[in-house]
Amino acid sequence: MRTVKIQLEPLTCPSCIKKIETKLGKMKGVDEAKVMFNSSKVKATFDEDKVSKDEIEETIEKLGYPIVA
């Protein structure tokens, strides 16, 4: 299990929280996904054997939330 924090561009709509959390939560290997709305970060705990950080980032970007490197 590994926990990463991914910085997104400033989040504005609280409804995005649910969208991102639900989508990531459904990904295989993702144990927990939490959106930190106020710091615009996603905190994800996942199994490295099943899913990679890149895949998680890709899903977030596909949802329409650009990631700040």
Partner: protein
């Protein structure tokens, strides 16, 4: 690629669409009706693109989004030829998004300012004496680091050479510089105001106090208050209810336009954002003042506190004994006696002896003579020979054992000093009493005023629990106007007292400093710890951490919690109120899609702006208001 480009230029797109709307308005008044229609459609498409993209992205991931609703509404409006509506809605949606982002940034600014204070690089001394500037992440434990005037302390550690005055505002919120010398602790993020210092790195990366503060504040801003949880639950029922209602509206009125308007307007924007923004602004304000409040729930409970429980030593008092008075007899010079006694006490491990040494050092006395034949008489004092004199320093038992007679007036003076809360020590030179040293732990300067301020703000009862003797405890309590004192307690007794107060129905905040207070801090409704630069234990167990060890911070945090909860209530009221007004307006036919959107966005902005007032909230304002109140006779 295209999507990235759109996201990047969203602001420009918004303003371009806005300009087009103004152009359409001009065309309208000058009579170019066809041009107006064309411009409106163009504005709809331009402002619509970012919205459509978001809607598509979420739809593809099978996620529902407000953008999808707006897209449906806009397509519907275009279909029935309502170009004004379609263009105004798309523009307002983007513009609202832009304003929200801007204002939200302001409520989040306190944390961002804190993060920006984080050091970036460090100048490290390598083995051969040459220096190298490296990014702060690469600093390893044990590295030696140079910090010059104006530089930032990159990691936590201790001073190994040099001295400097340091601004610790980043960690403690206190901007008065403190002086640091050999072996003093340095904290990452603090700034060398003046001087030159070499340090050794002890905690690096995420382990530094500064990194922990950021982490704590970030987590705290996410943790939800009761109001927030209530609103979340409300939104959980509210959103499906609105969807069902709009379907009902469609079937009853057979008016798709009205149904879509209803759906878009009823989106719970201000509702969802109202409580969190208050929290973020409140916690951010605290963090900047050196008060870490761990989350919305803590804010909520803290605002309800009516009873304060304090530990004495280190919380109400400084916890560092100081020499409060030196009285000399037989024409001895004060500085000479202090110098002799301090030189003798350099061999002592006892904290009273060390206090005397510290006093001499702070008076710039040179302690260069070594005592001979020194002997520590445990519990009584020390004996030594120095510079041809025989010294005996200690209590009356030691004087008696050494056959030193104590004149009546000297004994009376000593007793008086003890009654005033001091430990009074005799110093005898060559068999005669030369002086009396009074040592006491002093009450914090801001204690009396802070306690009085909190009483004004709603505290009903103040209790002091201490392991110290009854005599000293009562003295401190008297000076601070404390309601109840329990002295000579063990740590577990403190827990019992806190429990009893809670059972009596009080909401209790307990403030303490040491590990011995930790159980009582955990038992209280709100536990406060004096951080003193943030020891791990206190930062983790307490609900509220006072980074600068100031009781005025306690008072600030208390009024801040009240202000935050008040602000949250106002926001909830605004949000819920506007939603009902809007829905009624839509059903009554007074509010259409464009004006509904406008009011909706305005309500979101209203709650954000309201929360922003909390960023500027400070205790000085609070005081001024109280003074105004005082003037008015009841």
């Amino acid at each position: 690629m295209f999507i990235r480009w759109i996201n990047k230029y969203k602001k420009q797109i918004t303003f371009f669409a806005g300009a087009l709307l103004i152009l359409a308005l001009i065309a309208n008044y000058t009579g170019y009706y066809e041009a107006r229609q064309f411009i409106l459609i163009l504005a709809t498409i331009i402002a619509g693109v970012p919205i459509f993209i978001k809607a598509y992205q979420s739809a593809r991931m099978k996620a529902f989004s407000i953008e999808l609703l707006v897209t449906i509404a806009v397509i519907g409006a275009l279909y029935i030829g309502e170009y004004v509506e379609s263009s105004v809605v798309t523009f307002l949606f983007l513009f609202g998004d832009y304003l929200e982002a801007r204002t939200l940034q302001k409520t989040r600014s306190s944390l961002k300012e804190l993060v920006d204070m984080a050091p970036q690089e460090a100048t490290v001394i390598r083995d051969h004496g040459e220096t190298e500037t490296i990014p702060v992440e690469d600093v390893a434990e044990g590295d030696r680091i140079i910090i010059r005037s104006g530089g930032k302390v990159p990691v936590d550690g201790s001073v190994i050479s040099g001295h400097a005055s340091i601004n610790e505002a980043a960690v403690t919120g206190e901007s008065v510089p403190v002086s640091k010398n050999l072996n003093d602790k340095l904290f990452s993020g603090t700034i060398v105001d003046n001087g030159y210092i070499e340090m050794v790195a002890e905690k690096v990366g995420d382990d530094t106090t500064f990194a922990k503060i950021i982490e704590l504040v970030e987590e705290a801003q996410e943790s939800k208050s009761k109001t927030q949880k209530f609103l979340d639950r409300f939104a959980n029922y509210y959103t499906p209810a609105v969807v069902i209602l709009s379907v009902l509206v469609y079937f009853i009125t057979n008016n798709l336009h009205l149904a879509i308007t209803f759906l878009v307007v009823a989106c719970p924007g201000a509702l969802v954002i109202g409580a969190p923004v208050s929290n973020v602004a409140g916690i951010g304000n605290g963090a900047k003042q050196g008060v870490l409040v761990k989350g919305g729930e803590v804010m909520d409970n803290f605002s309800k506190v009516d009873t304060l429980v304090f530990d004495k030593t280190g919380t109400l008092t400084k916890g560092k004994p100081e020499v409060t008075d030196i009285k000399t007899f037989n024409n001895y010079d004060e500085a000479a006696v202090l110098k002799l006694v301090a030189e003798a006490e350099t061999i002592s491990e006892h904290h009273l002896g060390q206090t005397i040494v510290k006093e001499a050092v702070s008076r710039n006395l040179k302690l260069d003579r070594e005592p001979e034949n020194s002997e520590v008489i445990k519990g009584n004092g020390i004996k030594a020979a120095l510079d041809g004199h025989v010294l005996a320093i200690g209590n009356s038992k030691l004087m008696k054992a050494e056959d030193i007679s104590i004149p009546e007036d000297v004994a009376a003076y000593q007793e008086n000093r003890e009654k005033a809360g001091n430990t009074a020590i005799y110093a005898a030179i060559d068999g005669k009493i030369a002086g009396i040293f009074s040592i006491a732990d002093q009450i914090r300067e801001d204690a009396a005023s802070s306690l009085a301020e909190m009483r004004k703000n709603g505290i009903k009862k103040i209790v002091m629990l201490t392991g110290d003797n009854r005599h000293t405890a009562n003295l401190v309590a008297e000076q601070l106007g404390i309601d109840k004192v329990h002295a000579e307690l063990l740590p577990e007794d403190k827990v019992t007292h806190v429990k009893r107060l809670k059972e009596e129905g009080y909401t209790v905040a307990m403030a303490g400093d040491g590990i011995n207070d930790a159980p009582a801090i955990a038992t209280a409704d709100i536990g406060l710890a004096m951080g003193e630069g943030g020891t791990d234990v206190s930062m983790e167990t307490a609900d509220v951490v006072l980074m600068a060890d100031k009781l005025s911070q306690f008072s600030h945090a208390y009024s801040l919690s009240k202000a935050t909860i008040r602000n949250m209530r106002q926001n909830t009221f605004i949000a819920v109120g506007i939603v009902f007004v809007l829905l009624a307006g839509v059903l009554g036919g007074v509010v259409n899609l464009a004006s509904g959107m406008l009011i909706h966005e305005a309500s979101v902005l209203a709650v954000i702006l309201n929360a922003m007032r909390l960023i500027r909230f400070n205790r000085k304002n609070g005081k001024v208001q109280e003074k105004d109140l005082e003037v008015k006779p009841a």
